[in-house]
């Protein structure tokens, strides 16, 4: 009989370790629900949830929508491309208008870091951050840690290397917070130009040689090169990035140990991850997607129960 210490999920930074464990335990139960012939429970049948996406998303939006529908919530979707945002409406006005239609929870993705925090100070509904710029993506970190726990039994004491575009990645920051709260050791690895300047201050190891990172870790979480956020060139070419940081079967064979490969998707095959790794036994990429629905169901259910 526990509940979350917060009524919004704005980032992992604001969660306690027991909050995260509660999400995991609840997600275990929802994972079982998802394997039933009828994959639906009536818990949120009197709740309306707005998915407000100011930035493109395929799997996160789909995963949230599925989680909401599996919980029997009423769902309204909003995409900024076809909305009045284009006509100059402010964020608060947009969301207040949605709330005037009696919405209880808002799942929001926005390109500005801190947008959900701002919103949570001005409106009454529960806010769930589905990614705010290069800041946090809490549900992704929760499902990543949940998947590690599922594969390796526990997160505490495990060594996790986050490899790739750390500078532009909200997944990296949320993962660092989440894994550290659960007692894992974290390393970030990538080219110098894609590494935030003071990243070591977060208590993570920093490595620029991908082979050394793979040798060190139990789990490699490989990130996508986010071309859409790169205004300037951070490396000479994708081909060169792939040569130095791409993970392929030959590299894994040199390790003399088995490691778990994760990727938050979408994969740039042949750039950060080769198909012979992405489709191998080491990869739990599709399990991550499956767990994403269960973890998001847990988050929605637990937030809805906080008075």
């Amino acid at each position: 009989m526990q509940q979350l210490s917060t009524r919004h999920l704005l980032g992992i930074k604001g969660l306690t370790e027991s909050d995260i464990q509660l999400v995991f335990e609840t997600a275990d139960n929802f994972k079982e629900v998802l394997n039933r012939p009828i994959k639906k429970v009536p818990s949120l049948r009197d709740i309306t949830i707005a998915n407000v996406f100011f930035e493109n998303s395929t799997r996160t939006k789909l995963s949230f929508e599925l989680a909401e529908k599996r919980l029997s919530a009423d769902v309204v979707n909003f995409a900024s491309g076809s909305s009045s945002v284009k006509k100059g409406e402010t964020l608060i006005d947009t969301v207040n208008n949605i709330l005037a239609m009696k919405v209880d929870m808002v799942v929001m993705r926005h390109s500005s870091p801190g947008a959900p925090h701002f919103l949570s100070r001005h409106i009454r509904a529960n806010i769930i951050n589905a990614g705010d710029g290069t800041h946090e993506h809490p549900t992704q970190a929760l499902l990543d840690a949940f998947s590690i726990r599922e594969r390796l039994g526990d997160v505490a004491g495990k060594k996790v290397a986050i490899i790739g575009d750390i500078l532009h990645s909200r997944v990296a920051l949320s993962n660092i917070f989440c894994l550290q709260k659960l007692g894992a050791e974290v390393m970030v690895c990538g080219p110098l130009t894609l590494m935030p300047r003071h990243v070591a201050a977060l208590g993570v190891k920093v490595e620029h040689d991908v082979f050394k990172a793979l040798q060190w870790c139990d789990v490699a979480n490989v990130l996508r090169i986010q071309m859409e956020r790169q205004q300037i060139k951070y490396f000479p070419s994708l081909r060169e990035y792939s040569l130095y940081y791409g993970i392929n079967r030959r590299l894994l064979n040199r390790l003399n140990k088995e490691i778990v490969i994760m990727h938050p998707g979408p994969i740039n095959r042949g750039v950060e991850l080769n198909s012979d790794v992405a489709d191998s036994e080491n990869a739990i990429i599709l399990q991550q997607v499956e767990n994403g629905v269960a973890v998001r169901m847990a988050v929605l259910y637990l937030l809805a129960s906080v008075k």
Partner: protein, 182 residues
């Protein structure tokens, strides 16, 4: 502290044996019958029934544990939310006779939620309810047990607590206590 013993270890054991014999009488070789223990406390009653049944009846028994937390009607209406428990049902109940097992039948709301949750595993042929304690005249729903261990008259201010040796108590016992002194 006001506390009254309803059933002691011997009486519980006799009731469990009686339950087994009643089930054998009504369900023959259990070919088309499954038992579902309602989490968390009905699971312990079910475990005792399964244990006793192994001693007296050769046919294999199909059973599982059902958690109805996500189907309850008091979600967001309680001060502290209930924590879900594991559901473990490795079969479908389509066209099966289902016996729901719980420890105490009070308002009937848990059983209503359980029947709702159960439907996710198929359309049962028939559903029966088996409880150790039936608190009379307290129901909010039209629910009645097919098998009960003991019927008791209780007040709103009272609580029926079931203690099992497997949980670390000295012996199995069922008590009626005042809620304040619980």
């Amino acid at each position: 502290m006001q506390k009254r013993l309803v059933l002691d270890q011997t009486q519980i054991s006799i009731i469990i044996s009686r339950f087994c014999h009643q089930l054998i009488e009504n369900h023959d070789d259990f070919e088309n019958t499954v038992l579902l223990g309602l989490q968390p406390r009905g699971a312990m009653v079910l475990d005792r029934i399964v244990q006793r049944m192994r001693e007296i009846h050769p046919s294999p028994l199909k059973y599982g544990y059902l958690d109805a937390t996500f189907h309850r009607d008091d979600f967001r209406r309680r001060d502290i939310p209930l924590k879900a428990n594991e559901t473990r049902i490795e079969f479908l109940i389509e066209n099966k006779k289902v016996i729901l097992v719980d420890d105490v039948l009070y308002k009937g709301r848990s059983v209503r939620a359980a029947m709702d949750a159960m439907i996710a595993y198929g359309r049962p042929l028939k559903v029966e309810l088996m409880v150790l304690i039936d608190r009379k005249y307290t129901r909010d729903f039209p629910i009645k047990p097919n098998y009960y261990g003991r019927q008791v008259n209780t007040l709103e201010s009272q609580y029926v607590s079931v203690e099992w040796q497997s949980q670390g108590y000295a012996e199995d016992a069922i008590w009626i206590t005042e809620k304040e002194s619980k």
